[in-house]
């Protein structure tokens, strides 16, 4: 039985430059509660713009030109994201939908401790918590992602890439959101670390039941972790299918090209092209 969490309808984003660039074209999709939706595509296909657009995080010259985004809250209320005013939008962000960005150094503020950056989230969204409760919550989060509470006073540069990404995940988890948007969360990481992080995400998802939109160019990875995969090209979703279906019977030519771009690890050898 379908139980949608997020409905995107006819959603378009244009970069208002000369000539205008249609970054996202009439995207319609429905994300189910508890689902992992993979969003695959190459750089410049609009996948990141789409993700930012859902949270209205775009900056000029990007403009949302059409479409609606509806968030079906667990409380039963439907939230029309485009209709929220600035203050409501601010409170909506992270509380309902949080984000994990590429594992590089840059997603964390380099000059403050990770504890302070976690604390920020509670200060802003949960003003009724006192200092001690906030501190306890931050420590709990760091324990949860296996970074350890003793790291609360560390600065980003004192942590390894994998650790920093765990901190990002802890931060994304802070308010127990119903959806996490992950934009290339493991791309900059070594494959072993990547696997650990994925395991962590999966485990947390079992525990807290959030949905995931997982954005990456790494199709083999998506095939393994997603329930459904949307393939994007030039701002359009050209194919959306369950992972197995996409793998076994890709419909679109471009999907086939993408699939063929990754040599099989254990398949037949010698030819680079399948």
């Amino acid at each position: 039985m379908p139980d949608p969490l997020l409905s995107v309808h006819d959603f378009s984003i244009v970069y208002d430059v000369d000539p205008p660039v249609e970054a996202v074209k009439n995207v319609t999709l429905e994300l189910q509660r508890g689902e992992i939706l993979g969003l695959a595509g190459e750089s410049g296909c609009g996948k990141t713009t789409l993700a930012y657009g859902l949270q209205r995080l775009l900056r000029a010259p990007a403009v949302i030109t059409s479409g609606s985004v509806t968030f079906h809250d667990a409380s039963g209320v439907d939230i029309d994201v485009n209709a929220l005013d600035i203050e409501e939008m601010r409170r909506f962000r992270w509380d309902k939908i949080s984000m994990v960005f590429q594992g590089a150094m840059n997603a964390l503020n380099p000059v403050t401790t990770i504890g302070a950056q976690l604390d920020d989230v509670f200060q802003v969204h949960r003003p009724d918590l006192n200092r001690r409760e906030r501190r306890a919550a931050c420590e709990e989060l760091l324990e949860l992602v296996a970074v350890g509470r003793e790291r609360i006073r560390s600065y980003p540069h004192e942590l390894s890439g994998g650790m920093r990404q765990r901190v990002m995940i802890a931060m994304a988890l802070a308010l127990r959101p119903q959806l996490m948007v992950m934009d290339e969360p493991t791309t900059a990481l070594d494959v072993l670390v990547q696997r650990e992080i994925l395991r962590q995400i999966s485990q947390l998802r079992h525990e807290f039941g959030f949905s995931v939109i997982f954005i990456t160019h790494d199709l083999p990875l998506l095939l393994e972790i997603s329930d459904r995969i949307a393939v994007m090209r030039n701002g359009e979703i050209i194919e959306l299918a369950p992972a197995r279906e996409l793998w076994e019977q890709p419909q679109h030519e471009y999907t086939k090209t993408l699939l063929a771009s990754f040599p099989r690890l254990t398949g037949e050898r010698g030819v680079l092209v399948r």
Binding site: V191, R195, R199, D218, S261
Partner: protein
């Protein structure tokens, strides 16, 4: 016949205020022409140290690097001929081409420096090289790097490397900065050139899948040590070392994934 040998090469970096770090620990291997070796390792494994030693940005702390049995000269004509024999292709095709010069200039330069062809034939040779990497010579020759796509730039870099007719090529993550759908094209091109020109290629990468398909042998580097070295199929399909096994099982492998999971991949991570 050209042979590049690493004989018990170690490299120790001294870091002020910290214990010194062994970036390479007793690494030995031999690369002949007509042969491809993939050097697989994660960041910090020492694979970029090997590239740096080959480009002579670093010298080994101990051990020897030999070309045809002789140590690599530090300067003069010997060094020039070493650089003509062994060419590099780098990860970032934007950074490795000079934005102020045309594509023609980039390829002419090694031709002139190494006197590969008579001066009158330079233009023809430049065009031949561009066609060789499957670029349309007429449309790219007078352009500058920023007017080309990433894949085209990397092809230019390959043409430039081929200009001095090397017998060995070191490709340091040549496709990892390119868009997914063109990576394979560039790798296929490299593979074809390798076969046709009889090149020896050292393919440095973090990606097990392309390593297996591109090369005859795979060498797995971990914490500066070669933990496994063998034929590509053996290393991937039948890994002996614990670390290789870990790497293999961590690499995405949809084929195996769909073969082993039921039709319901709900939350199928790990």
């Amino acid at each position: 016949m050209t042979t590049l040998e690493f004989v018990n090469v170690s490299k120790r970096y001294r870091v002020r205020g910290a214990p010194s770090m062994l970036a390479l620990d007793d690494v030995s291997f031999t690369l002949h022409d007509r042969e491809t070796i993939a050097l697989v390792g994660q960041s910090g494994s020492g694979k970029s140290t090997i590239a740096k030693i080959l480009t002579q940005l670093e010298t080994p702390t101990s051990g020897e690097v030999l070309l045809n049995g002789k140590p690599i000269p530090r300067h003069g004509r010997g060094l020039r001929s070493y650089r003509q024999t062994l060419r590099m292709i780098f990860q970032d095709p934007f950074a490795s081409l000079n934005p102020y010069h045309s594509i023609r200039y980039h390829i002419e330069r090694p031709l002139r420096l190494d006197n590969v062809v008579p001066k009158a034939e330079t233009e023809r040779e430049v065009r031949r090289l561009l066609e060789r990497v499957r670029l349309d010579a007429d449309s790219v020759i007078d352009r500058r790097p920023h007017e080309l796509s990433g894949g085209q730039r990397q092809r230019v870099a390959i043409a430039r490397a081929l200009a001095s007719r090397p017998s060995l090529l070191v490709a340091d993550e040549p496709v990892s900065m390119l868009d997914v759908s063109i990576r394979l094209g560039v790798l296929n091109l490299l593979a074809d050139l390798q076969r046709e020109e009889g090149l020896g290629v050292l393919y440095i990468t973090h990606d097990l899948a392309t390593a297996r398909h591109f090369s005859d042998q795979i060498m797995v580097l971990h914490h500066g040590r070669v933990v496994e070295h063998g034929s590509a199929d053996d290393v991937i399909l039948n890994p002996q070392h614990e670390y290789t096994r870990e790497l293999r099982s961590a690499s995405p492998d949809p084929e195996k994934h769909f073969a082993t999971t039921s039709a319901h991949p709900q939350g199928g991570v790990a």
